[in-house]
């Protein structure tokens, strides 16, 4: 169990000070596939480097299995890293790269050889064990980097955007494989990515970061269905944000009938309402839903589904997503006006963003 307690990191000082991490609090459980997700520059790599020991925190604590690891140098932390650039040793063969972490710790030669063989088989690179690492393809280098980090049996494996340099097909393959390895070994992964699909498909839990802060930590499904704020709602998946008013257990979207929603609470005030495009019902007046209508501005074909850009009578716009299966009913044309339903269940109230926006 890794406890990250009010961890802060500030680069530089005075006017040049840059707060890369602002009081990050989170606990990573054993055997968890934990993902750090956020836009470029939000501090993901910085957090990983603090855990690996390459940077010293300017505040807070890192506690691994009850022990504060702040004073332990990187070479003696029981974590290993798969670097974004792979950082394979170019003058060594695949096997020598993988053996490095074991040899550096003084593991007896026979055990090294056995372990190297084992992890090379695990990542299916045993046939290239004597190839110089500089002479490998990107995907192969990625596997070697993974094998090298796994060989010393880390307590936690840190992965900094390990798949970002691969093409889409290879990336999908490696995603599945990484997930399988992690599950089979029961190893704790802290995985960095800025690709939300990657995060959603692979993770047990995702920590969404922005501006050096944790915005929300939750399982992929919860993150998608119950984003904590506008940033998370907008960053994960596509979303519609509508202005509204909440109060008395009722939610009122501008110009529409009120919706009875428990989350609305008793206090009244302006809120932002979120609804995912796939929950918008196009062409029907569904039960337990807010009803309105919209004009079809644009239809964008995506294969399995079509994105429908609609403009609302009140002046707002809305995106819906309709499945392109054989039994899906309505046929839409651009310019047409259609009835729309926003199911009560799908409406999410996001907290006022005034504080967050600063």
């Amino acid at each position: 169990m890794l406890e990250i307690k009010s961890l802060s990191k500030t680069f530089g000082a005075g006017v040049a000070a840059y707060h890369a991490l602002r009081s990050v609090d989170v606990t990573v459980e054993d055997g968890e596939f934990f993902t750090l997700l956020g836009p470029s520059g939000c501090g993901k790599t910085t957090l990983l480097r603090l855990i690996a020991g390459f940077e010293q925190p300017t505040g807070g604590q890192l506690v691994l299995d009850g022990q504060d690891i702040a004073a332990i140098p990187p070479s003696r932390r029981p974590v290993n890293t798969v670097f974004q650039s792979y950082a394979l040793f170019p003058h060594m063969t695949v096997a020598q790269n993988v053996a490095f972490g074991l040899e550096a710790r003084g593991t007896p030669a026979r055990d090294v050889a056995a372990r190297v063989e084992e992890v090379l088989q695990l990542v299916q690179m045993d046939h290239l064990r004597d190839r110089k690492s500089a002479a490998l393809s990107g995907g192969q280098q990625q596997r070697v980097a993974l094998a090298r980090a796994l060989a010393p049996r880390p307590r936690i494996l840190l992965l900094d955007e390990p798949l970002s340099a691969l093409d889409l097909k290879l990336r999908k393959e490696m995603q599945a494989e990484l997930k399988r390895l992690q599950r089979e070994m029961g190893l704790t992964f802290i995985f960095v990515t800025h690709d939300q699909d990657e995060a959603l498909t692979m993770s047990d839990r995702i920590a969404v970061m922005e501006g050096g802060r944790l915005q929300q930590v939750a399982a992929p499904r919860d993150l998608y269905d119950h984003p904590a704020n506008r940033f998370v709602a907008g960053f994960i998946g596509e979303t519609n944000l509508l202005p509204g008013e909440a109060g008395n257990g009722q939610l009122r979207l501008a110009g529409l009938a009120p919706a009875p929603i428990a989350e609305a609470g008793a206090e009244s005030g302006a809120v932002t309402v979120m609804i995912r495009p796939e929950h918008v019902v196009v062409g029907q007046e569904a039960a337990n839903a807010v009803h309105t209508s919209g004009r079809v501005d644009e239809l964008i074909f995506f294969g399995t589904d079509t994105h429908v850009k609609l403009s609302l009578p009140g002046g707002g716009s809305l995106t819906a997503r309709t499945q392109n299966s054989l039994h899906s009913g309505t046929h839409l044309t651009e310019g047409q006006t259609v009835p729309l339903s926003l199911p009560y269940e799908a409406l999410r109230i996001l907290p006022d963003e005034a504080a967050h926006a600063v």
Binding site: P74, S75, F89, F100, A104
Partner: protein, 307 residues
């Protein structure tokens, strides 16, 4: 399947080699003009007869080469020691080796220091390293003399502080020669090593620490193997001229311990035996070439073997 891949690789390698050779053409032309041609003159001269007042007479003779191998009387009237040349060569080689080792000891940390400065200040440090090149070798050597001679800076300082009562004899010792040589050749070590370290990707060192390497282990297994080409280049650049050096050993050692370079110098000057001088020069060149080929084989091969 396998052999097909192997032959494909070989083909690629051959194409690569061809490309490199054609890229090297201009350099090869310059080398043949300025290096091979003078060497050819030397080879020709070494097979001629010495003229009475220096120079050569165009008459074939093996005496020059004979004198290199079979030591005959050279400067004094007694029959020359059979191994005089050999011991001079040994001394020169020892001095060159010691110089190389010392420039490594001082040059590697210096290069490391410069290469790890912020990019903006590296140029400034490199500038300081190259400043001595602006002055003539003779002037530089005399400047060191000024520091260490009997009434030089160091002795005056120590006397003034009362640390010593009488000046320490530093000039005209082996130590003085080594000091001078190290000072003169240091930049030749620093430059290529600096270039190698600057190219080194420090993320690799981070990866090594992440993989439980101590600082020393990282240095030995990752950093050094990757900057080794620079160190080898520096060693060659220092060792070869150091082997034939004569100004610095002469001025710092007072001409008591003769070096190969002084021996050659002697033949073209007082000795008036140009063919012998030429033969001595050519034999030095041959020795250096052999040593170079052997060491490059050894180091490059070693690099491939242990990885």
């Amino acid at each position: 399947m396998l052999s097909e891949a192997a032959s494909g690789e070989a083909l690629l390698r051959r194409a690569e080699t061809r490309r490199r050779w054609s890229l090297a053409m201009p350099a090869l032309i310059v080398i043949s003009l300025f290096s091979i041609l003078p060497l050819a003159v030397m080879v020709v001269y070494s097979f001629l007869t010495p003229g009475t007042y220096g120079n050569v007479e165009w008459q074939f003779s093996l005496d020059g080469w004979f004198s290199v191998i079979f030591e005959r009387d050279l400067f004094d009237d007694t029959l020359g020691l059979a191994d005089a040349h050999l011991s001079i060569l040994g001394r020169s080689a020892l001095l060159a080796l010691a110089t190389t080792a010392l420039t490594m000891v001082f040059g590697l940390p210096t290069a490391w220091f410069i290469a790890t400065r912020p990019v903006a200040s590296r140029a400034y440090w490199m500038f300081l390293i190259t400043v001595p090149f602006w002055t003539n070798l003779l002037v530089r050597t005399i400047a060191i003399q000024e520091v260490i001679r009997a009434d030089g800076t160091i002795n005056r300082l120590l006397l003034g502080l009362g640390v010593i009562d009488a000046p320490i004899q530093m000039m005209f010792t082996n130590g003085a020669v080594l000091l001078g040589m190290t000072y003169v050749y240091l930049p030749l070590m620093v430059l290529p090593v600096y270039a190698a370290i600057e190219k080194f990707d420090f993320r690799l060192a981070e990866a090594a620490y992440d993989l439980h390497a101590s600082r020393f282990y990282c240095l030995r297994r990752v950093i050094f193997p990757l900057i080794r080409p620079g160190v080898i280049a520096g060693s060659i650049l220092v060792f070869i001229p150091a082997l034939g050096a004569y100004v610095t050993p002469r001025l710092m050692g007072g001409g008591r311990a003769m070096m190969w370079g002084n021996l050659i110098d002697l033949q073209f000057g007082q000795g008036r035996n140009w063919p012998l001088g030429a033969a001595l020069s050519v034999s030095l060149t041959l020795l250096v070439m052999i040593a170079l080929v052997l060491s490059v084989r050894r180091f490059a091969g070693g690099g491939r073997a242990d990885g």
